[in-house]
């Protein structure tokens, strides 16, 4: 698959495919093994959230540049119910779905840049970037 690519997140097996594609591109970008592991883990969390809380969504996977630095950017979007209180959703342990409540807060710690846009009834857009060191 080429980059940028947009992958669907509409089933549990899509979540696996997202992890695998993100890993491939993370290697291409030149991320260290630990950073690959971090960004794939964040991708898994965010893809699962789109599936579970929004009934599905998609992720755009692209390589970005900042001077000579290369990075991997993932943009998750869905047309689900949105997140009413983003601050609270980003708190460790906060869950409305019986999870561990670490998907959003933990993913934020695993990447270099993390941005959430969401409002009730307007879906959710989450952009994360991991830069090669």
């Amino acid at each position: 698959m080429t980059t940028p690519a947009t992958l669907p997140v509409t089933s549990n097996s899509d979540v696996v495919l997202v992890r695998q594609h993100v890993r491939t591109v993370a290697v291409d970008v030149g991320l260290s093994l630990v950073d690959q592991t971090k960004v794939v883990t964040a991708a898994s969390e965010l893809a699962r959230n789109a599936l579970v809380y929004a009934g599905g969504g998609r992720v755009r996977v692209e390589i970005v540049h900042n001077g000579i630095r290369r990075g991997l950017r993932l943009t998750f979007s869905d047309d689900g119910p949105g997140i009413p209180d983003i601050e609270r959703a980003l708190t460790d342990g906060w869950t409305t779905g019986g999870g561990l409540g670490l998907g959003l807060s933990g993913s934020r710690r695993l990447v270099d840049e993390f941005d959430v846009r969401s409002a009730p009834g307007e879906g959710t857009l989450i952009t994360v970037t991991k830069w090669a060191r």
């Binding site: 097996s13 592991t37 971090k38 561990l100």
Partner: protein, 126 residues
């Protein structure tokens, strides 16, 4: 959906996760293991994650749940072979897996289970 085989070796159940599991397979494994611990009366469970490239909060919770279930069924669980990058990521994600015993590899996992069983017997006869 892929199903992970559960092997029985003496009174230890061994599970080796070799592929990238989707969530239903993770849940199925959790149920299979609980059933098997009861059915076999196993005293130990070893989950080998040597081949596992990431552990997210879903798999992390499965590991903790299996450990908790088997504890209630009088068995010990040891997770073996966690890659360093996985361990680093798990801690940063916020999952310390405090209740889960770990060992570097299968051999050390078996030794740990034998040791745990030994101290159980010792504390009964003491």
């Amino acid at each position: 959906m892929d199903r992970v085989p559960v092997l029985k070796l003496g009174d230890i159940l061994i599970v080796s996760i070799q592929i990238d599991l989707q969530d239903q397979s993770v849940l199925a494994l959790q149920e299979d293991l609980a059933d098997q611990v009861v059915a076999t009366g196993a005293r130990g469970v070893i989950i080998d994650i040597t081949a596992v490239e990431i552990v997210d909060s879903f798999i992390g919770r499965m590991l903790a749940t299996i450990a908790a279930i088997s504890r209630m069924l009088d068995a010990d669980t040891v997770v073996v072979g966690m890659r360093p990058a996985v361990a680093i990521t798990l801690v940063e994600l916020g999952l310390s897996l405090g209740g889960v015993r770990t060992a570097l590899n299968l051999e050390k996992g078996v030794a740990l289970l034998n040791h745990l069983e030994g101290s159980k017997i010792a504390s009964v006869t003491r």
